[in-house]
C-alpha cells in the first residue's frame, strides 16, 4: 500500500498573531497560557501522521480537541500556520488558488456534521453541485448524480428539497454529493454525530459497505470511541490540539498510552471491538481425515478433551468427532472417521466481533471454530477465551483477590 496522505508537524493557530503564538508554542508554553497572554487560539499543535491509500483513518477526540480544525487543514478550508501536508507526494499548502481549486474538485470531498446541504437546491441539485463546478455537461452530471443517489439508497428522492428529508437521509445526500465527485479522499467531519443512535448504526454499516466497494481513503472525525474503533483501520486520539496516540483499535485498547486514553477506553464496549482473530488460539489437538478412529481417541485422551476437529490435507475443515462416537466405533470395528463426522458446531470468520459470537458460544457444546474464506481452519475459540478477551489486559491485576 502506498502513502496517500502524509502530514508533517502541522500547526494551526487562530488569531491575528499566529507566528508569535507558534514561537511560544515551540518554546513549550501551554495552549491555555498562550491564549491568556497573546489571545491566540491553538487549534492544532504539531500533528503528524500518515494515511495509506484505501485506509480508513479515524481521528477521535472530545469537542475542542482540534479534530475538526485538523480535518479542515486537509482541504485547506483552514490554512495551516506551519507544517506540510503531502498528498500523493505534493505539498498542498504550497498550491496557488487555481491548483487548490483543481485539487478540491478532483481529489478530495467533504461530508459535514450538520450536512452542509444547500437548502435552496433539490437533492439532485445538491449532488450535482461538485460536477457543476467542474463544468461537466448537464446530461452527464445528472446521470452521475442519479447513480450516486442510488448507491446511498435514495433513488426516487432526487426532486425533493433537502429539508423535506429526515436527518439520516440528509446525510446520505451529503455522502452522495461527496461520492459523485469520485474523489480519492473522503473527509468526514463527525458525519453521524447529529443522527440518532439507530440510524447512526445503519449509516456506519453502510459506510463500511461503500468503503469495501470503492476503496476510498477516508479520514473520519468522531468523538465517539465505539464509532472510532468500529470503523477505523487506525485511530488517532487528539487532545488539546495534539495527537496523543495513534494505532490500530487493538493497540490502543490494550496499551493506552496515558490516562486520558485510558479514560476513553474504559467507556468502550469491548465486544464491539475485539474480533475472533484476537482471541482465537491454536487447537490443542487436531486429527487428519486420513487418520483412523484410534488416533483420534489417543489425541483426545492426550489433551484431555472430549471432541476434536478433523481437517483435510491442507487444513480445510472437515468436521468434528466426539470421544463417545469414537469409542462406539471401535466397539463396532469401524476405523474410518468419515462416518463419525458431526457438523453441529459453529463456524465464524476471523473478522467477526465477539458481540456476535456470544450467543453461539453459550449454546454450542463445542468450541467455535474460526475458518478463512477457503474453509481452512485458523483457530478455535472456547468460552473462557471470550470472557478473558473482554477484560482489559492491564486491568486484570487490579481485580481484588
Amino acid at each position: 500500500m502506498s502513502k496517500k496522505i502524509e502530514v508533517k508537524n502541522l500547526y494551526k493557530i487562530f488569531g491575528s498573531k499566529p507566528k508569535l503564538a507558534l514561537k511560544r508554542l515551540k518554546e513549550g508554553w501551554t495552549k491555555e497560557k498562550i491564549l491568556k497572554t497573546t489571545g491566540q487560539t491553538v487549534g492544532v499543535n504539531n500533528a503528524s501522521f500518515t494515511v495509506d491509500e484505501g485506509e480508513f483513518f479515524v481521528i477521535m477526540g472530545l469537542s475542542g480537541s482540534g479534530k475538526s480544525t485538523l480535518i479542515r487543514c486537509l482541504n485547506l478550508l483552514n490554512r495551516p500556520t506551519a507544517g506540510e501536508i503531502l498528498i500523493d507526494g505534493e505539498d498542498i499548502v504550497k498550491y496557488d488558488r487555481q491548483q487548490l481549486r483543481e485539487f478540491r474538485q478532483n481529489k478530495v470531498a467533504m461530508v459535514f456534521q450538520n450536512f452542509g446541504l444547500f437548502t435552496h437546491r433539490t437533492v439532485l441539485g445538491n449532488v450535482e453541485y461538485g460536477l457543476e463546478i467542474r463544468n461537466i455537461n448537464k446530461d452527464k452530471r445528472r446521470q452521475i448524480a442519479l447513480e450516486a443517489l442510488e448507491s446511498v439508497g435514495l433513488k426516487g428522492w432526487e426532486d425533493k428539497m433537502p429539508t423535506e428529508l429526515s436527518g439520516g437521509m440528509q446525510q446520505r445526500v451529503g455522502l452522495a454529493r461527496a461520492l459523485a465527485n469520485n474523489p480519492d479522499i473522503l473527509l468526514m467531519d463527525e458525519p453521524f454525530s447529529a443522527l440518532d443512535p439507530l440510524i447512526r448504526r445503519d449509516m456506519q454499516i453502510e459506510l463500511l459497505e461503500i468503503q469495501s466497494k470503492l476503496k476510498k481513503t477516508i479520514i473520519f472525525i468522531t468523538h465517539d470511541i465505539n464509532e472510532a474503533f468500529k470503523l477505523g483501520d487506525r485511530v488517532a486520539v487528539m487532545k488539546d490540539g495534539k495527537i496523543v496516540q495513534q494505532g490500530t483499535p487493538e493497540e490502543i485498547l490494550n496499551n493506552p498510552s496515558n490516562e486520558y486514553i485510558e479514560e476513553f477506553v474504559k467507556s468502550i464496549d469491548r465486544t464491539k471491538v475485539i474480533q475472533a482473530k484476537n482471541i482465537m488460539r491454536k487447537p490443542n489437538a487436531l486429527v487428519s481425515i486420513k487418520d483412523g478412529v484410534r488416533v483420534a481417541i489417543k489425541e483426545m485422551q492426550a489433551s484431555n478433551i472430549s471432541s476434536v476437529f478433523v481437517v483435510g490435507r491442507n487444513m480445510e475443515l472437515e468436521g468434528i468427532v466426539t470421544i463417545d462416537d469414537c469409542v462406539d466405533a471401535v466397539k463396532n470395528k469401524q476405523s474410518s472417521l468419515k462416518e463419525l463426522l458431526r457438523h453441529d458446531f459453529y463456524k465464524t470468520s476471523p473478522d467477526e466481533y465477539i458481540e456476535n459470537l456470544l450467543e453461539n458460544a453459550v449454546k454450542s457444546k463445542y468450541p467455535i471454530v474460526v475458518v478463512d474464506d477457503e474453509n481452512k481452519l485458523l483457530g478455535i475459540i472456547v468460552r473462557t477465551s471470550i470472557l478473558s478477551g473482554l477484560l482489559p489486559i492491564n486491568s486484570t491485576n487490579d481485580t481484588p483477590a
Binding site: R72, N75, L77, L100, R101, E102, F103, R104, Q105, N106, V108, A109, M110, F112, Q113, N114, F115, G116, L117, F118, T119, H120, R121, Y129, G130, E132, I133, R134, M161, T163, R177, N181, L187
Partner: protein, 282 residues
C-alpha cells in the same frame, strides 16, 4: 448662567458647503450627464406606466395580488387603486410611481454590490456603519439642499434625495444576509472547489435572497415616505398635492392625496413582501 464660550467655534457645515461648491465647480459635466440619465429613466418608466390603460392597470394589480396572496387581497388592492383614480389623482400616482421605481432600481444597483462587498470586508463595514446610520437619521429635508444644487429643481434631485435616504437598508440587509449564510454551507461550496464568484452566485446569494428581498421591501417603503418631502423641490406627483393642500389649508385635498399615498404604499408593501416570501426556502 453657564453658556458655551463663543470664542471656541467649529462650523462643520462650512466644510460641507465648500465640498459641495468644489464638486459643482469641477464636476458640473458629470452631474449634467447624471441628470440626463436619471431623467431618461424616470420618463421612460412614466411613459411605460401611462401607456397601460387604467382598467388594465387595475386588472394587473388584482391579478398580482391574487397570484401572490389571495383572491380577497387582489380585490382589495384593485379597489384601492381604483379609488385613487376616482379621487382624480391617477396621473399623479403614475408619476409618483415612476420616481419611486426609478429610485428603488438605482438603490438596488448601488446597494446590493456594496452590501456584498462589506460582508467580506470588515474595514469597509466599520466605515459604512456610521455613514449608513447618518444617512438614515439625518432629517430627509437636509438632502434636498445639495440635491437642488447638483441637479436643479424637479424630478432628478427628488430621485437623488430618495436614493440617499432609502439605500441604507438595502446595503445593511444584503450584508447581513451574506454574513448569515451557514458556515458549513459556505465551507461545502469551497470544499468542492468553487471559485469565490461561484460560491457567491450559486450558494451565498440564493441563500441570502429572502433577507435581501426584505431589504428591498424596506427600501421601497422609505422611497415612498420621501414622496412628500421631495415634492418640496418641485417633484410632481401625489406629494405635490399634499404640499399645495398645506399651503391652502385645504383639508379635503390633503386627505385625498394623503390617503392615495397610503393606498399606494400598502399595495407596494404587500406585493414586494409576497415576492420576498417566494424566495424563502426554510
Amino acid at each position: 448662567m453657564n453658556s458655551f464660550p463663543e470664542l471656541i467655534k467649529f462650523d462643520p457645515g462650512m466644510y460641507i458647503e465648500a465640498l459641495v461648491d468644489w464638486l459643482i465647480l469641477n464636476f458640473q459635466g458629470f452631474f449634467d450627464a447624471l441628470t440626463d440619465v436619471i431623467k431618461w429613466i424616470v420618463f421612460n418608466i412614466q411613459d411605460g406606466l401611462s401607456f397601460i390603460p387604467w382598467f388594465l392597470f387595475i386588472l394587473l394589480i388584482f391579478l398580482l395580488g391574487w397570484k401572490l396572496k389571495s383572491f380577497k387581497s387582489g380585490l382589495g388592492y384593485a379597489m384601492m387603486i381604483m379609488l385613487i383614480g376616482l379621487i382624480g389623482l391617477w396621473e399623479d400616482m403614475i408619476f409618483t410611481l415612476a420616481i419611486v421605481i426609478t429610485s428603488v432600481i438605482l438603490s438596488i444597483i448601488i446597494g446590493i454590490p456594496i452590501g456584498i462587498y462589506s460582508a467580506y470586508n470588515q474595514k469597509l463595514e466599520a466605515l459604512l456603519k456610521p455613514l449608513l446610520d447618518g444617512m438614515q437619521t439625518m432629517p430627509s429635508f437636509v438632502y434636498l439642499i445639495p440635491a437642488m444644487i447638483f441637479f436643479g429643481l424637479g424630478t432628478v434631485p427628488a430621485v437623488f434625495a430618495t436614493i440617499v435616504y432609502s439605500t441604507p437598508p438595502c446595503i445593511r440587509l444584503t450584508s447581513l444576509a451574506i454574513k448569515r449564510v451557514p458556515k458549513e454551507m459556505r465551507e461545502a461550496a469551497y470544499a468542492f472547489g468553487s471559485s469565490r464568484w461561484q460560491a457567491l452566485v450559486k450558494v451565498e446569494l440564493p441563500q441570502a435572497m429572502p433577507t435581501i428581498m426584505a431589504g428591498i421591501n424596506q427600501t421601497t417603503m422609505l422611497a415612498m415616505s420621501m414622496v412628500v418631502t421631495s415634492s418640496m423641490i418641485g417633484a410632481k406627483g401625489l406629494g405635490e398635492n399634499v404640499i399645495i393642500a398645506i399651503n391652502r389649508t385645504d383639508i379635503a385635498m390633503g386627505f385625498n392625496s394623503g390617503i392615495s399615498i397610503v393606498f399606494l404604499a400598502i399595495i407596494i408593501d404587500r406585493l414586494t413582501q409576497m415576492i420576498s416570501k417566494k424566495y424563502e426556502h426554510v
